[in-house]
């Protein structure tokens, strides 16, 4: 267990050491969210209606952008080979890296969400709900991102290929995440959407470490 937390701490240190790394993702997130009104128009009612969807799409895109860092540097400097030789199973190392990645990439997004919510004219209760669904849903997004990152880590010029693989797999998360926020006639469905979202995230958390570790092993041979 000590080794597990050591990997988590190592990855957090690496992400925060240079300083700008985790912050770039937040900046991208805010910018994508803030650029939407320029396309939609400054209609406050419309923005309030679309707000949760815009926030979710921005979070999805930001996490896609960040996932390439998950294994790439470890693959390039050889740490990944060392990790495969470690006493800790590769599945656990992957889980540790997932936790660290979530803490350094997804958590800052969630913290920055109120700022975006103000720009998009969401009220306080909506903002809290968005944050809540993001808390539940982003682990699933990070999980699928990890699978995509592991599959493409050995490809030198594979910049766009991982998002192409991951986006279709992110559809259920997006559907349940945004549906959990819906109001009006379909409000009754929002609680079941939340449960689906939570179940989906749990499922993703269970099988992702195995799939990711398998992909890494297959890539290293």
């Amino acid at each position: 267990m000590k080794a597990f937390w050591a990997v988590v701490l190592r990855d957090i240190k690496l992400a925060t050491r240079i300083g700008g790394d985790a912050l770039t993702v937040v900046l991208f997130y805010i910018m994508v969210g803030a650029i939407m009104p320029f396309a939609i128009g400054p209609d406050k009612v419309l923005l309030m209606k679309l707000g949760p969807a815009i926030i979710w799409i921005s979070a999805l895109l930001s996490l896609l952008l960040a996932l390439d860092r998950l294994f790439r540097t470890d693959h390039e400097d050889g740490s990944l080979i060392a990790m495969r030789q470690a006493h800790l199973p590769l599945e656990m190392i992957v889980l540790a890296k997932l936790i660290a990645h979530w803490l350094t990439n997804a958590a800052p997004l969630i913290i920055a969400t109120p700022l975006l919510a103000i720009l998009l004219n969401l009220d306080a209760s909506q903002t809290i709900k968005v944050i809540f669904t993001l808390l539940i849903g982003t682990p699933a997004l990070v999980c699928f991102g990890a699978i995509g990152a592991a599959v493409t880590v050995t490809i030198k010029r594979g910049g766009l290929i991982a998002p192409i693989l991951i986006l279709p797999l992110s559809i259920p998360t997006l559907i349940f995440g945004v549906s959990a926020l819906s109001t009006g006639a379909i409000e009754t469905a929002s609680s079941s959407a939340l449960l689906f979202l939570a179940g989906f995230t749990l499922l993703a958390l269970v099988f992702t470490p195995f799939a990711t570790a398998l992909a890494l092993k297959m890539g290293a041979e």
Binding site: I147, G148, V151, T152, T154, I155, R157, G158, I161, I164, L165, L167, P168, L169, I171, P172, I175, F176, S179, S182, I186, A189, F196, F200, L203, F207, A211, L214, A215, M218, G219, E221
Partner: protein, 261 residues
């Protein structure tokens, strides 16, 4: 690693299944299947098309547009069946590391993508007169579209790897991840669809279809299934040959280098 991969046991030492799945032996026996399969496919598709246009009645509800079903349904079925083939092949390449399993998975992906595209296009052309729109965000059409995205992603992934043996095993992992996800995606899309619009769209699977409509459907169904089998065989053969060409090109380059030094 690449050295070991090219040393193949001779077909005679192996059991029945390993023997028919040995790449070299596969090239031999599949050769004799190509002509019969071509004949069966052409006859079935020609007969099916004849039945569809000249020897089947118009449906009492949808009129003549039911004739689109004869191409739409077989392709929709194949769009799922191809993925099932890829899943079985992926298990084969992960568990048994079988080179023919990689070849089979790779050959099935473009076929699946094409059949899915045909299913979508004919679905849209069917939707235009019956629903009044080419595209409806209906559960089935939407999940078929997602299916097409998954196929295209996998094809794109095959094209980015240099080392095809490694690609085979890595893509097997993502194919299996996709297999777990496809039912969830289907469920979520259908759920999302019922949430946003009450089920008013027309469903083509009526409980009773008269024999005169079922017969052309069956003929076309088998016609397209045999077409898949035939094309799968040819693509697999092409892929085996491509790997041999690569191996020989490598040897050629090696030999030239040795001559220079």
């Amino acid at each position: 690693m690449s050295k070991n991969a090219s040393i193949e046991p001779t077909p005679q030492d192996l059991g029945f299944f390993s023997r028919i799945a040995h790449p070299g032996y596969f090239l031999q026996w599949s050769k004799y299947w190509l002509t019969p399969l071509t004949i069966i496919t052409v006859v079935l598709l020609a007969f099916g098309t004849y039945l569809a246009f000249f020897n089947s009645p118009a449906d009492y509800q949808q009129g003549d547009t039911v004739r689109i079903m004869y191409v739409h349904v077989p392709n929709a079925w194949l769009s799922q069946f191809c993925y099932a083939v890829m899943v079985v092949a992926s298990v084969g390449s992960l568990v048994w590391r079988h080179p023919l399993a990689d070849v089979s998975a790779k050959a099935a992906a473009p076929l699946g993508a094409t059949f899915t595209a045909v299913a979508l296009a004919t679905g849209a052309l069917w939707g235009a007169p019956t629903w009044g729109t080419f595209w409806e965000w209906d559960g089935r059409m939407t999940s078929t579209l997602v299916m097409l995205f998954i196929y295209l992603g996998i094809i794109a992934l095959w094209r980015t790897f240099e080392d095809q043996a490694r690609a085979g095993r890595i893509i097997a992992v993502i194919t299996l991840v996709g297999a777990i996800n496809i039912p969830i995606i289907k469920f979520s899309v259908e759920w999302w669809n019922t949430l946003h619009q009450p089920a008013s769209v027309f469903r083509p699977d009526g409980p009773t279809m008269p024999m005169s409509i079922l017969l052309p459907l069956f003929v076309m169904f088998f016609g397209f299934s045999f077409l898949f089998l035939l094309l799968h065989f040819i693509s697999m053969r092409a892929e085996i040959l491509r790997r041999r060409v690569r191996a020989l090109e490598r040897r050629n380059a090696q030999r030239l280098r040795e001559q220079q030094s």
